[in-house]
Amino acid sequence: MATIDQPLPAKAATMREEFSWSESLYNWVATVDHKRLGLMYVVSALVFLVIAGIMASIIRLQLAFPNNHVIGPDTYNRLFTMHGTTMVFFVGMPMVAGFANYLVPLMIGARDMAFPRLNAFGFWIFLFGGVLLYFSYIGGGGLSGAGSAPDVGWFAYAPLTERAFSRGASTDYWILGIFTAGIGSIASAINVIATAISMRCPGMTLARMPMFVWVMVIDSWLILIAIPPLTAAQIMLAYDRFLGANFFNTQAGGSAVLWQHFFWIFGHPEVYILIFPAFAILSEVIPVFSRKPLFGRPAMVAAVIAIGFISLGVWAHHMFAVGMTAWSNTFFAASSMLVGIPTGIKIFNWTATMFGGKLRMDTPMLYCCGFLFQFLVAGLTGIMLAVSPFDWQLHDSYFNVAHFHFTLIGGLVFGLLVGMYYWYPKVSGRMYNERLGKLSFWLFVIGFNTTFIPQHFLGFLGMPRRIYTYPAARGWETFNLISSIGVIFQIAAVGLFAWNVVYSAIKGKQAGDDPWDAWTLEWASTSPPPEYNFEKLPVVRSSRPLWDLKHPQDPDWKFGQ
């Protein structure tokens, strides 16, 4: 393998043994290889994405017309609860773990994560949590009939979740599924930080560590600090439901607002936990597709750290309507606006990276551009929500729904798609179909914006969220119908993406080690990399070791980078 003074090797010979199907299955189930586990995380997340997407489609079908009768209130309430819970905990979080686990060891020149068995444990307990949550459909029986999934909303406000108002076991499955999966998230976070600190190849100081790794490390710190509050709150709720405790029992003096504080102390950092992979991915892909280094690397690292810190102090902007004091309503408005600043700085730096470059407008870059615009919109609607008096109107309305779908789909999903297309050749050894990729992109952009732009206006017109139907008289029909039509395009886009992934894996062109002419260490290994990642562990002198190798007259380390 490459060291500073040796050229890149020819494609390493990979020995392919023949396994029977049961041996292959065992190899996957018992694996501790970070690449396989990373892949399993991402594939699981995509499966849950499709399931939760179907739920969303049914929701939009129900809301396409006023007084619609596609589904009744109970089914609807379970659908939006499961949609949100699945997307956050079983799509977003495994994508964090999957991308981090696959790429971090490769990018830092290591052979695996610091704790490979912990890695495996984390994956399987996450999956078990998902199974537990979905088991509620058959096991969650209550007064309302045979088996039911949770219907308390993804943030499960007390006292709606107390036994008195939430009969049967559906809320218990909500608690158990997420609690279990949360253990996996913490395990993964410990692994990522320990790996980045203890397993970097020689020469890779923290300053030379790739931006992707930096962001995922800070993401892991957020997980370590912000997930336990949710775990604690869920334990408290479980005590209330099973042992008659009084944490959120307002009849005994318990506080409904306390649940909200604990939940959002988790919940707000959680949304940054979710979006950081997109930030991490963009910081790798935009430079490569602009043919320039990331503009302002130190500022980008500082910005991510700042976002991480500040995000721990904004949570009560979810609670502006709860009747907090004017001081609180002002403080949290201020902190929420401040957190937008380092986020904006990141957008500026990405743009500056592109400025003066030679932009290769292939699918990954198209998704980057989609991200930039849509996340900009999301950030600005976030500023609107941060202004607490404005939020008093917008809170719990469709404006809120529009904002977070812009951050999560327009931001996170688009960012993850950048990553999936970019690393697809590395993971599979083959190139995806570029024309299909571009077509899927445009369908997604059209569909996503058609669905969610009108929802801002629904919020302005006073439509609250989480309602299973609405009367014709309120002036909400047109925007709802447009919003629902957008779903068709999104389904087409996702379908094309899935087809591209599967078909290219079988019929795609051989990609080679480094199809994008990139600069981080994963591109120095084969596609896909062997189980041991690198024949010889690399030694690096800058943050772009492959650039140095390819440009010996003009290496980064000459400029102190």
Partner: protein, 334 residues
């Protein structure tokens, strides 16, 4: 859902009273909503400006620096690592913008939230239930449900001061054209105020998911001139006293209805469901779901689950004669 259920969701238009059914937050008709609208426009202006500038630069960058056919791809562009001055500039400017927004926000938060009620303010307690609103006027000793009558205030001198709470889960009071929302939280008292500038009916929703029928927990604030309001209040204070006890009332008092509902001056003293003492004077049923007509009333009493599935009133399984009688009785409670 039956056809009647379908019909039930139709126009809730009570003849003669202007009803603000399209609840645009940019068409405020009370001071809190107006203050919120003003800061909304300011924020939208600032963010739109940012969007145009930043978005414009992104668009320009993409258009100008796209690869073109004929570009020499072996030639990498200048590898610029960064610029401290630029970083400083685009850190400081957003901080300044943020400070302006924070200052403006603080001012409006204080003016809306810490406004103290004028001595002549009307006090109303709104208590949230799954899925209806209990409305109490402590100074008038009135208890009603779902419809809140207040005097309107063209000169800004009449204000209604609301005290909000809940008996079960968290709800939220949102009548967009009057004010931003405030939550109704069990074991906690919250406060808000409204001063409707025009007479009319202001429509709103519960805005915090509260269970199965959250969607159909609708609000109606009826703003009327002082004398009409006083007349309404006086009417609500006294029990309806008919000269003859109707068969409907006898039926009502003999069934479990009395365990959940209050009708002043009768045996019905149950506190679980809405107060029905003057049901006939209300314009809607089922917390704003349908107009208060005989047809709808009969359908509701016959089987509330058909109209509002999951609501906490069971079907009373009355014979059609009993149904007619009870409906007539309740209609007469004006």
């Amino acid at each position: 859902m039956t056809d009647l259920g379908l019909l039930a969701f139709f126009q809730v238009q009570v003849p003669g009273i202007p009803e603000h059914r399209v609840t645009d937050i940019f068409k405020p008709l009370a001071s809190p909503a107006a203050a919120e609208r003003d800061i909304a426009w300011f924020t939208i202006a600032v963010t739109t400006l940012i969007f145009i500038v930043v978005g414009g630069i992104i668009v320009y960058t993409i258009m100008r620096f796209r690869r073109r056919p004929g570009d020499d791809l072996r030639q990498e562009p200048p590898q610029v690592y960064g610029s401290n001055q630029i970083e400083l500039a685009w850190t400081v400017i957003p901080i300044l913008i943020a400070f302006v927004l924070i200052g403006v926000t603080a001012r409006v938060v204080w003016s809306v939230e810490n406004a103290s009620p004028p001595p002549s303010a009307l006090h109303v307690k709104v208590i949230g239930h799954q899925w209806w609103w209990e409305v109490v006027y402590p100074d008038y000793r009135i208890t009603t449900a779902n419809e809140i009558h207040v005097p309107y205030s063209p000169d800004g001198k009449e204000a209604t001061y609301l005290e909000l709470s809940s008996v079960d889960v968290v709800h939220s009071f949102w009548v967009p054209q009057l004010s931003g929302k405030v939550d109704l939280i069990p074991n906690r008292l919250n406060y808000m105020w409204i001063d409707p500038k025009q007479a009319g009916v202001y429509v709103g929703n519960c805005a915090e998911y509260c269970g199965t029928q959250h969607a159909n927990m609708l609000l109606r604030v009826v703003a009327e001139d002082r004398s009409t309001f006083r007349a309404w209040a006086q009417g609500q204070q006294k029990a309806v006293e008919p000269s003859v006890v109707s068969t409907g009332r006898t039926t009502f008092e003999s069934l479990s209805c009395v365990n959940c509902h209050v009708i002043q001056g009768t045996k019905a003293i149950g506190k679980f469901g809405p107060d029905l003492s003057h049901l006939g004077s209300r314009s809607t049923l089922g917390a704003g779901m349908m107009t208060n007509t005989r047809e709808h009333l009969k359908a509701w009493i016959n089987d509330p689950q058909e109209i509002k599935p999951g609501c906490l009133m069971p079907s009373m399984k009355l014979t059609s004669t009993e149904l007619d009688g009870v409906a007539s009785y309740l209609e007469s409670l004006k």
